[in-house]
């Protein structure tokens, strides 16, 4: 009897196990995608970083240990490049969080339903415009000679003359703010939607209770709205920190491969090494990529710690 019972239990476990494996089968497509498009390139780049691999050379890559990393850590272009990317991030990140936050609070207060929808649609327009069109548009806006911004500043307002009009793209001290403003505009609606979703989740009775207790609008904003939106802010800060540090398209568009400009950051240097310079030093470029990624992971972990949930529950 006991033997039969044990066999039945085994069969039941086997059946459960098979069912369990059956579930895994459904994950195969996404697992294949994840392994081939995420894990493999990451591991491949890691392997490259320990080699002297040059794409245009026909010989095999040689294992060089940590040599690329040692070289990268003493390469001024890597260190300056990281510093430049950090400078851009510090300019970009506050605007990318607080501008959408303020806008979201304002749009959230629009009570006329049609108008509220209209604002939301308007805000989302930049997010649905294809990237190349955005790039062309902003390069035109910033154009020194024929750009509308300088036209207004010089010809309409007369604040500047032709001789001293701002060089939004060419002036090293203006190009980073110029890229940041363009990025703020591009992401404004998208990020505002995050905050609007967060605002919609805050119970209205919290606001009513606070107002009954005599809180003014400023206090309501700081004591209720901001703490309740903190998880969304955390997500945006972490996401946007990563994208800001890793910007490359915009830098290439605004500064090309000119190493003298603030737009020549570690990402541009990495691309330059991997696809432009000499016989394409991809092993070294991979090491720079990993150093940057490790640095970003450390800062991201710190940000996650700062924004951790402090609720006792």
């Amino acid at each position: 009897m006991a033997a039969i019972s044990t066999r039945a239990t085994r069969q039941s476990r086997l059946s459960a196990s098979l069912q369990h494996w059956g579930n895994w089968v459904f994950l195969i497509p996404s697992a294949i995608f994840f392994l081939s498009y995420m894990i493999y390139p990451i591991l491949r780049t890691l392997w490259l970083s320990f080699t002297d691999y040059r794409y245009l050379r026909q010989g095999p890559a040689n294992f060089v240990g940590l040599q690329n990393f040692q070289y990268a850590l003493s390469d001024p272009l890597v260190l300056i490049g990281l510093q430049r990317a950090l400078q851009f991030t510090l300019v970009f990140l506050p605007g990318m969080i607080f501008l959408p936050l303020i806008l979201a609070v304002m749009v959230d207060r629009v009570t006329v339903r049609g108008l509220a929808t209209f604002y939301r649609v308007i805000l989302l327009i930049p997010a649905v415009i294809p990237g190349p069109m955005i790039f062309v548009m902003w390069r035109l806006l910033y154009n020194y000679e024929i750009g509308p911004i300088n036209y207004i500043l010089v010809d309409v307002l007369g604040i500047f003359s032709k001789a001293n009009a701002p060089q939004w793209v060419g002036n090293p001290s203006l190009v980073i703010p110029a890229v940041a403003v363009f990025e703020w505009w591009w992401g404004l609606g998208y990020h505002t939607m995050f905050f609007l979703a967060g605002l919609a989740a805050i119970p209205k009775d919290l606001y009513e209770a606070a107002r009954i207790d005599g809180a003014n609008e400023w206090q309501v904003f700081w004591r209720i709205t901001i703490p309740r939106l903190r998880p969304i802010m955390a997500i945006l800060v972490v996401l946007r920190f990563g994208t800001a540090m890793a910007v490359i398209d915009e830098y290439l568009l605004f500064g090309g491969f000119n190493r003298g400009l603030p737009t020549y950051t570690w990402t541009v240097y990495m691309y330059d090494l991997a696809f432009q310079i000499g016989d394409w030093l991809q092993g070294y470029a991979a090491a720079i990529g990993w150093l940057g990624a490790i640095g970003m992971l450390i800062i991201t972990a710190t940000l996650l710690y700062i924004f951790r949930n402090r609720d006792n529950n």
């Binding site: 059956g22 026909q58 060089q167 568009l253 190493r259 003298g260 070294y284």
Partner: protein, 463 residues
């Protein structure tokens, strides 16, 4: 019936197992046989450019149509080419994935001993030819180009397109750096004759600004291969090291830099800004200023002023001339050709040569290029002596005198020496010589030494 079959877990698993087995079998299958006529793999240990190039196949029997691929701008500036491609039998032409001179797709395919295309039209020898040869991605044309065509190429251009005596680029379009000016502006400034020396240019440019005929006396493209190199050639062409590098320390290069600074001070403040396309290389401020009729003189390869003048109220006001000279200088300039390379692992090599010959001698392409179309007016010239002889013998009515001015530069112009860092050396040097142009550094010799050091450092890194 299959559509009505209920998709439950059992069915899905069955289908998945079948698909998985099929995929596994496919993965285990041997790779497809090399295309007939495909050459042997390049010698992996081959260190030199010439040695790395695999032997070209003796003949190819292709199973596909001829597959040429074009750099995008060629289709844009020469609209007759896509039209012609449609009419040619067994030709399947495409746009190449080469924005910003990117050749990674070609190299990647060559590493896999395959090529989607047979011929790439868009290669500039000093820009990417050395890289393509060193990776074994391209083979010389010598075995395929008809002898009469080979002998028809202008000798200096044949030299530009050859490495170790082998022709790797089938030259197609010629660009020469020269002078252009807006005659409406120069006339308003009281300038009555074409500038023949740089001193004439500086005097004229100042007169344009002083007379308020235009905001800027002149414009040029500050990228080294478009200004520093031609201005240096204007003084001397012997400015390349024995390895083929541009010698930034050469007296002629230093003189050219001093000239660039003087010209820059008579040009727009944003002259050094990155261009808006192709990684900052194209769509540059000089083009915008000249197109907006804000500058008198313009120094760049001729197709640029023609393209920009098309935006003027009266494009006929454009005048062109020889590149100015330094007093006591050689009076040379820079030329380069854009040509076609033959992929090692492509097919249809003989057909590719026939195809290129068809393009090379197509009269409509040259008429459109020189006389212009509604789409573009590039004024890129042919590089074959017989075409010029034919025009000399019987001048077509559409042929302007300006062509003689442009082609007249050929005997004195010199190409930038082919080198792995042919174009890159100027990009690496730019932040340093820019400091002088911006007035941040007053010693021209110091910045040019820094340019040299910057290129040397990258060469060491690449060693």
């Amino acid at each position: 019936m299959a559509l009505n079959k209920k998709l439950n877990r059992r069915n899905f698993l069955k289908a998945g197992a079948v698909a998985g087995s099929a995929a596994a079998l496919a993965a285990c299958a041997p790779p497809p046989a090399a295309a007939p006529g495909a050459p042997a793999a390049p010698d992996a240990s081959a260190p030199t450019v010439a040695a790395a190039a695999p032997a070209a196949p003796a003949a190819s029997t292709s199973t596909r149509p001829l597959a040429p691929t074009f750099y995008q701008w060629i289709y844009d500036l020469h609209p007759h080419i896509p039209e012609l491609n449609k009419t040619l039998p067994n030709v399947k032409a495409e746009i190449a994935p080469t924005e910003g001179f990117g050749i990674e797709r070609f190299v990647a395919e060559a590493k896999n001993k395959e090529s989607t295309w047979d011929v790439y039209v868009g290669m500039t020898p000093f820009v990417e030819m050395t890289q393509l040869i060193s990776t074994g991605a391209i083979v010389p044309w010598d075995d395929y180009i008809p002898k009469d065509v080979l002998d028809d190429i202008i000798p200096s251009i044949r030299e530009e397109c050859s490495v170790n005596g082998k022709l790797y680029s089938w030259p197609f379009f010629l660009d020469i750096t020269g002078s252009a000016w807006h005659s409406g502006i120069t006339k308003a400034a009281g300038i009555t004759k074409a500038p023949s020396t740089w001193d004439d240019v500086l005097t004229g440019a100042k007169a344009i600004i002083d007379s308020k005929a235009a905001p800027y006396g002149n414009v040029y493209d500050p990228q080294g291969w478009r200004s520093l190199a031609p201005m240096t050639h204007s003084m001397s062409t012997q400015v390349y090291t024995s390895e083929g590098r541009f010698d930034f320390n050469h007296d002629a290069a230093i003189e050219a830099l001093i000239l660039m600074k003087k010209l820059k001070d008579l040009g727009p403040a944003n002259l050094l800004e990155a261009g808006s396309t192709d990684g900052g290389v194209n769509g540059t401020p000089d083009e915008v200023a000249f197109a907006a009729e804000k500058a008198g003189f313009y120094f760049k390869y001729f197709n640029s002023p023609y393209r920009m003048a098309a935006n003027w109220k009266d494009p006929n006001l454009l005048q062109i001339g020889a590149y100015p000279k330094f007093a006591g200088g050689e009076g040379s300039t820079v030329f380069w050709t854009t040509g076609a390379c033959l992929f090692t692992y492509g097919q249809n090599k003989e057909a590719a040569a026939e195809y290129m010959k068809t393009l090379t001698y197509d009269k409509k392409i040259w008429q459109d290029s020189i006389a212009g179309t509604a789409a573009a007016h590039p004024v890129q010239l042919p590089v074959y002596t017989s075409i010029y002889k034919e025009w000399a013998a019987s001048k077509p009515e559409w042929l302007p005198e300006a062509v003689n001015t442009i082609s007249g530069q050929m005997p004195i112009a010199k190409a930038i020496t082919n080198h792995l860092f042919g174009l890159k050396q100027f990009q690496l040097a730019r932040p340093f010589y820019e400091k002088y142009l911006l007035g941040q550094e007053t010693s021209e010799k110091t910045v040019m030494q820094q340019c040299m050091d910057a290129v040397t450092a990258e060469l060491k890194k690449a060693a």
